[in-house]
């Protein structure tokens, strides 16, 4: 009999292979016993409100519980404007986060037995005692500031609260220096504020959407994907700049297949065209912006002809696309992007994007960037936090003057005795971030890890980082716990509830409980003056005239705007949140700090012969490295593949679906071989890979050894001097067709 097709044909083209990931009897049980084998309609499933934690868009939904326990399905909440009742594949596949048999189950403590290190299971009491005792010891010796937190996601708040109460604010998240930091810094310098998350981008009503390296559709931030689809329906012009034919590029009227690392040249030439062809929004710029003359002088020579030689984008196409933007303005937007740490001059690229938006008049106009509004919930009452003697700002050592959030890499640096010096960090708590895959410069990270007196990891899965922990604390998944109310700002304020749909599996516990337990052991009970988190939520909601009981019934509540309209009202004035109240086309703040007041183009490193620029990105069914073991999502995409142009493959004699190892410019070889995807969608000078695969931790049974880990190949990092972002796109790889480890043995 013919075998079943490759599981998903997109995978068949991309990475191929038959997917047979073991039986699934533990997932959903046998088929329902009616004649057609249809789901049993008579079984009324109970449902509980939640908001998703598989990525950080936090869509509100309903978790449906099977009559015999366990999660049947998760469906979006129709009232949530962030998802409109439609979760993305990761949200729908969130069931796999709960049912994953590889989940962490019990607290673990590192022990040395017969000279080898291993973990032993411990009771919660023992594990928590251990953590708090170690924290006390470190605080006594070095001060409480010597404890740092790395976090991502909902659980981070509880440990942030714990550490603030303990007396430290050395709290960092990769979401700043490894992701959106440059964007936020560039937009703040220009408009006085950034676009937040979810972004205040009015995609659904735009007439012209410009994407620069933003691959919406592969980057599955739900609301944006939905709105891009709406924009397509309404006939918006989409212009996509990408060295790869991304999904978004394939749906665009104009695809500009730019030479990688030259984006600023294109942006400057667009600014040039808008100004010198007098296409910019004169009324808006005159009313709201400062520095037009300086900008005009600055971009005088940045003509499309100049940019052509750098970007390989034809001058007429640069002019045409600038005109398309101007025709649509102010209902036009250059999307600010999100993961923007590329080449080390990323704040300036974000500045150029912000300036273009300003010239079109998009900030504050329909189809541009709207004024978001949220509602703030008061903190549950607690004593004032002690003031730390020093903080993360001190770890900057005078660098990165415009970093408004902690920089992960300087906290890591401060944890190494040679570089930490008077501000030495000795203990880490890591919550919800697999630091070894999310932060580059592995050598530095390993040095720090090996210098610590305490490393605690709180996670739901045995991610690589758990392998370095002294104590592993197993957290329950979002489907098994209460968490803070989601009160994210967007077109209208909303409140969304996450409550447990099922009891925590194994001996897992919610993060709020873990933080409270450690706090009480540290004598900080006054900061955790509640029985459980339900009490906190109830109190918070009552303060703003809402009730927990109601949210339990509806899951999400939309509240009316009270702080003014969504856009600038015609005839009214608007004061931007910059120092002068005006948009800064010329940034005095940057000039005063010793940086270029307006963006300039600097060439970046090029690949040597036989090497290709390593571009990484996202797949719609995975979130970073955190979903690589989720059974439902692994079934959709079990491994990543390296995208190679067929002409390049021809030179190398590489065949479709062949496995190769990747070696970077510093001689670092990927841990595992990766499948080749031959595709015309990628340039000849670049290769592309989806981030988050190539796990080397064996307890991740589905993820182990599948694909290549791009982070380990990112050894050349160009730090953005303005805010400390780690530019990671200056790495080049070549192909090894034979197992490099074998060569060494023979």
């Amino acid at each position: 009999m013919k075998t079943r097709r490759d599981f998903i044909k997109i995978s068949a083209l991309g990475i191929g292979g038959t997917v047979a990931l073991g039986g699934a009897s533990w997932v959903l049980g046998g088929p329902m016993a009616n004649l057609l084998g249809l789901p049993d309609e008579t079984a009324e499933l109970k449902r509980f409100p939640t908001y998703c934690e598989v990525c950080f868009w936090k869509c509100a939904g309903w978790a449906y519980v099977k009559p015999d326990g366990g999660i049947q399905k998760i469906i979006g909440n129709a009232d949530d404007p962030q998802c409109n009742g439609r979760l993305c594949p990761r949200g729908t596949g969130g069931v796999g986060m709960y049912s994953d048999p590889d989940r962490l189950k019990k607290p673990l403590i590192r022990v040395i037995k017969d000279g080898t290190q291993s973990y032993r299971e411990a009771s919660w009491d023992e594990a928590l005692d251990y953590v708090s005792k170690k924290m006390q010891e470190i605080a006594t010796k070095h001060g409480p500031e010597s404890i740092a937190l790395f976090n991502h996601g909902s659980s981070g708040h509880y440990f942030t609260h714990l550490l603030n109460a303990f007396g430290t604010n050395n709290i960092a998240a990769p979401s700043f220096a490894q992701c959106r930091g440059p964007r936020d810094t560039g937009f703040e310098a220009t408009f006085g504020e950034s676009v937040g998350s979810p972004e205040a981008t009015d995609i659904r009503d735009t007439r012209c959407l410009v994407l620069i390296g933003s691959h919406i559709g592969e980057n599955m931030h739900n609301g944006q994907v939905q709105e891009m689809s709406d924009a397509i329906d309404k006939g918006a012009v989409i212009i996509t700049v990408d060295p790869r034919l991304s999904t978004a590029a394939s749906k665009s009227k104009y695809w500009l297949p730019i030479k990688p690392s030259t984006d600023i040249a294109l942006l400057l030439s667009w600014i040039h065209v808008l100004l010198y062809d007098e296409l910019y929004n004169k009324e808006y710029v005159e009313k709201y912006a400062e520095g037009l003359n300086e900008l005009k002088e600055h971009v005088k020579d940045y003509t499309p002809e100049w940019a052509y030689g750098i970007t390989t984008i034809k001058p007429e196409l640069i002019r045409l696309t600038a005109r398309e933007m101007a025709n649509a303005a102010p209902s036009a937007m250059i999307h600010p992007g999100r993961h923007t740490t590329w080449y080390g001059d990323d704040v300036q690229r974000s500045r150029a994007i912000a300036i273009l938006n300003a010239l079109l008049g998009s900030w504050g106009n329909r189809g541009g960037i709207f004024f978001k509004e949220g509602i703030k919930l008061p903190d549950f009452p607690h004593p004032e936090f002690p003031k730390p003697a020093w903080s993360w700002q001190d770890t900057l050592n005078g660098r990165y003057p415009l970093a408004k959030e902690a920089v992960t890499n300087t906290i890591i640096e401060a944890s190494i005795p040679e570089t930490g010096k008077e501000h030495l960090i000795k203990g880490w708590i890591i919550s919800g971030t697999n630091l070894v895959v999310s932060v580059p410069l592995k050598e530095q990270l390993m040095k720090a890890i090996h210098s610590l007196d305490l490393l605690v990891v709180v996670d739901t899965m045995p991610m690589e980082i758990t392998g370095y922990a002294d104590v592993v604390l197993p957290e329950c998944t979002y489907l098994e716990r209460y968490d803070d109310i989601r009160a994210s700002a967007h077109r209208e304020p909303t409140l969304a509830l996450r409550m447990p749909a099922v009891a925590p599996m194994h001996e897992t516990k919610p993060a709020w409980w873990i933080a409270k337990q450690i706090g009480e052991r540290l004598g900080l009970a006054a900061y955790f003056n509640y029985k459980d988190y339900e009490e906190v939520l109830e109190w918070q909601l009552n303060q703003i005239g809402q009730s927990l009981d109601e949210l339990k019934k509806v899951g999400i509540k939309r509240l009316p705007r009270t702080k003014g309209p969504l856009y600038i009202e015609p005839g009214s004035d608007y004061t931007f949140k910059t120092a002068s109240g005006k948009i800064q086309l010329y940034s005095k703040e940057f000039a005063d700090a010793g940086f270029d007041a307006m963006p300039t183009y600097q060439p970046h490193a090029e690949p040597q012969e036989g090497f290709y620029r390593l571009i990484y990105g996202r797949a719609p069914m995975h979130t970073f490295s955190r979903t690589a073991n989720n059974p439902n999502l692994v079934a959709l995409m079990p491994e990543n593949a390296i995208w190679v142009n067929p002409e390049v493959a021809n030179i190398w004699g590489i065949k479709k679906n062949q496995y190769v190892w990747l070696k970077n410019q510093d001689g670092v070889v990927s841990n595992f071989p990766v499948k080749v995807r031959l595709t015309e969608r990628i340039r000849w000078d670049s290769v592309y890979i989806v981030h988050g695969f190539g796990h080397h931790h064996k307890p991740l049974h589905l993820a182990y050894g599948r694909g290549a880990n791009d982070t380990e190949l990112v050894t050349n990092v160009v730090i953005d001097p303005i805010m400390g972002g780690t530019g990671m796109r200056g790495n080049f790889v070549t192909f090894l067709k034979d197992d490099p480890k074998k060569e060494v043995e023979s």
């Binding site: 044909k9 997109i10 997932v27 009742g85 689809s229 034919l245 999904t247 439902n632 015309e680 340039r683």
Partner: protein, 177 residues
Amino acid sequence: MRYAMAIDTRKCVGCSDCVVACQTENNVPIGFCRDWVSETVDGTYPNVSIELRSERCNHCDNSPCVRCCPTGASHIEDGGIVLVTQHRCIGCGACIQACPYEARYSHPDGYVDKCTFCIHRVRKGENPACVSVCPTKCMYFGDLDDPNSDIVNVLKNRKFKSLAPEAGTQPQIFYLV
């Protein structure tokens, strides 16, 4: 009454949400699927285009799977939905061979399984799970005999195609191009 589906290839991003939603709605065992996503790439860099399609059983009017079924397990329900009655299916696999769309698979429990258009939801007036979950709203489901249905409206106003029309199966999944 004639149920059918139209899928807008201009909007589909190939995210496979339809696949995982089908799985959790219909208890499809992991490792198998009733719907899937295909990608077709045309041209050479940089003059290249792609088409993404969410695919499944075409619920054909002239269905070879029903014709070849020796036990009558494969049959056509009201509204043209092609179904397999599990307890009548002997798992011979003839229908799998006959289907030009490779839309059927052998369930580990010994019968042949495929898309049901979520008939259990449709009977309650809901859309199939894949349609209702799709973040891009690229899928339209409805009754071709109802002139006011979304699907009739969209097929009237847009160019569309079906897959493997040469097989003569009269498929009822339409791709808007």
